[in-house]
Subunit: 423 residues, 2 copies
């Protein structure tokens, strides 16, 4: 009899999402590693064992036990693409857009990404942290236990570093684990007019070294990766500029991510594959040959359907086609104040099932094991396997399919983060 | 100084949705009756006064006071079209549909409305009540304080009456107020094959008198209306059958509702207008001349966009066109186990803003004052005005536009029902 710290038992379905090497791709995305009448034994922050209730009872004891009451137990959700650190809001812009205002009219009224840049530049660090913490609280209650977070609203050396410090402070003080991504190349700030090349020079020569220095002395340096990212799109950065930014980050040892093919297919996806990207995100306008390219690569494809929904679009990234081509696919909220003011991975899954024809099983792997791989943490997170971090959810439902079948409410009954009940 | 029982103060925005006669229609749907720095005085179950904090402080005292903390206060939401009383679920059918199963394949696998009919017929009353109560709990937490509920899964005299008794039991024991609607003409049960006329005879000659007798002795007879409803659609009931059902209900003193133009425009909308319908629901395929007809009538138009979303549709009812034509419009969840497993009016509003171009103000009037009129309760519910029932919400946001700008989480901080804090 082995002594554990916590046993969770009586799970009608224990969804392990177990995978031994890399993310699930293609048809394997339907495999949830489901154990009926399941149980989990936890010691400290880690999973000791998973199995049927009978198996766990026979081998483990623990002082603390949680009766899941016939509910579903699954890994904590990983949100692999967010802009959750920001200040201010853009509710007025949302209303203007519905009323028919054009992009230029919204800009003239002080809207758009530059309005968020101004708010972030002006916000003291504590203010930025406090506003973002409230959003993380909401996300945690909705089942998200790990959150990738991008910079990219500072757009100056000082303000981008402030965002990195905010990410570090939130990781230190919030139950969620954060994974930092440096996205100074989000858009060219007004100081540089339309000289994106000059801004890219600044990003690479001044900002990136400072960001790497921050990382080296941060809590993330031991065991959490640091990503470089760029927005490759018309009116943002072209393929050559994107390549320069990503290559500079890669040369410095960072993981590679990209915003690619959101509105136009410029070639960023091929660049990212060539650089060995960890994830390639958006992909609404991905070309057929790039679907094959992504499927044949190690990169995880990350569509962001809440952004399409938020813009009232009826087209969505070809997530079904990507999976059918053999790609590994993850889903993310893209939470941000402009195109996706949405903290809910359950709603993102619900949209993906309906508008991108993901099966309930595929959607669940897309926010657990595959999302963990999309942030370079697949070895520690995203599945319920011995030795992995004990991040798990008890969902208030008798069958995992209800997670996507029902929509609009919070399906999460309890959140366990690193072995501790936090919700 | 007048003594109240409860004062709610420090609302950054008090949204009254005040209207003096009938629902808001056309451009008036943008008027929220907003009071900055607002407060409400409540005595017993009713609103005594609304005004600015200074006005209320100067005239009222109360032992119990709630500091809204700069949040938004608005009327409790009214959900004017639901099938929330049911048994079982259809998660398997949801998965089959995504995988590409046809309607006939789903029927062959035991899916569709008849599977819910079987589950309802078999469920003991207590079971039906218990399952439905959990859904009402979720809806209440999401801000819904009044719920219209339809029968229509029993499809036999006995089972339809069981549904009515379930509605009464839930109204008696749950904080939500319920408004009953008799929808025996939801579909023709298998006992009648394709002889819809014979089933309509049963509905009118046997079931309706029993339902009216139930109502006369129910808690609803004093102060709550009773509606007749029919599903006018190909493979359901044609225009003549629909007219027979609705006219029989109207002759017996019931309010008139209809499911019309969901997939095909058969003429049910004109029939409903002619019969003085209280609401006309779905309207996805409404003809241009019927838009004008509805706009010129007293009926409230009730699109149900969660059903379109659930089916992954990219077309939605022309809500914008209806408002622009001068119609009064309300929104509802349509919560049901097949086409809309969605308890959330905030999400329905978010869909309507994005895919039907409703302004945040219009969406809010659509789930308060107009929804109250859509269930014949506009004189008692749906706005914060002296003498009305004290059903109100404190929303965790500084501006009402956040209710639709943000989506996917629960925006409700507190629910006050009949003067009492229930969430």
């Amino acid at each position: 009899m082995t002594t554990a710290d916590l046993i969770i038992y009586n799970a009608a379905q224990l969804i392990t999402c177990a995978a031994d090497d890399g993310p699930k791709r293609g048809a394997a995305m339907q495999d949830l590693g489901l154990i009926a009448d399941g149980a989990v034994a936890i010691r400290g922050q880690e999973i000791l064992a998973v199995g049927t209730g009978a198996q766990i009872r026979a081998a483990y004891t623990a002082r603390e036990q949680i009766d899941a009451g016939g509910r579903v137990v699954c890994p904590g959700f990983v949100d692999p693409h967010t802009h959750v650190v920001y200040a201010g809001d853009r509710a007025h812009e949302f209303e203007m857009r519905i009323a028919g205002a054009t992009y230029l009219e919204i800009l003239a009224a002080g809207g758009g990404i530059l309005s968020t840049m101004q708010a972030v530049r002006q916000a003291p660090l504590e203010h930025l942290v406090a506003e973002s913490r409230r959003r993380l609280d909401t996300m945690l209650a909705l089942g998200t236990t790990t959150v990738e977070v991008k910079t990219g609203y500072g757009l100056s050396t000082e303000a981008e570093l402030k965002m990195l410090h905010a990410i570090e402070e939130l990781d230190r003080t919030h139950p969620c684990d954060l994974v930092p991504t440096f996205l100074a190349a989000h858009t060219t700030p007004p100081e540089y007019g339309d000289d994106a090349d000059a801004y890219v020079d600044l990003v690479i020569r001044e900002m990136l070294p400072r960001a790497l220095d921050w990382y080296a002395h941060s809590v993330f340096a031991s065991g959490r990766p640091f990503f470089i990212d760029v927005f490759c799109e018309d009116h943002a950065f072209d393929v050559e500029q994107s390549h320069r930014v990503l290559a500079a980050g890669k040369d410095a040892g960072m993981g590679v991510k990209i915003h690619s093919d959101q509105f136009n297919s410029l070639g960023g996806t091929a660049v990212a594959v060539e650089l060995g990207a960890t994830s390639i995100d958006h992909l609404d306008a991905i070309a057929a040959e790039d679907i094959a390219r992504v499927a044949a690569s190690q990169a995880v494809a990350v569509p962001l359907p809440a952004a399409n929904f938020n813009l009232g679009q009826t087209n969505f990234a070809p997530a079904r086609g990507l999976i059918d081509a053999g790609a590994a696919l993850a889903l993310a909220t893209d939470i941000n104040p402009g195109s996706a003011p949405c903290p809910s991975l359950p709603l993102v899954m619900a949209i993906a099932c309906r508008y991108q024809r993901l099966l309930p099983s595929e959607a669940l792997n897309a926010v657990t094991i595959n999302a963990a791989h999309a942030v370079g943490m697949g070895h520690r997170l995203g599945s319920l396997q011995p030795g992995k971090q004990a991040d798990l959810l008890i969902l208030d439902m008798p069958d995992y399919r209800h997670l996507t079948y029902q929509f609009g409410a919070n399906p999460v009954w309890r959140v366990i983060k690193s072995g501790r009940v936090v919700v």
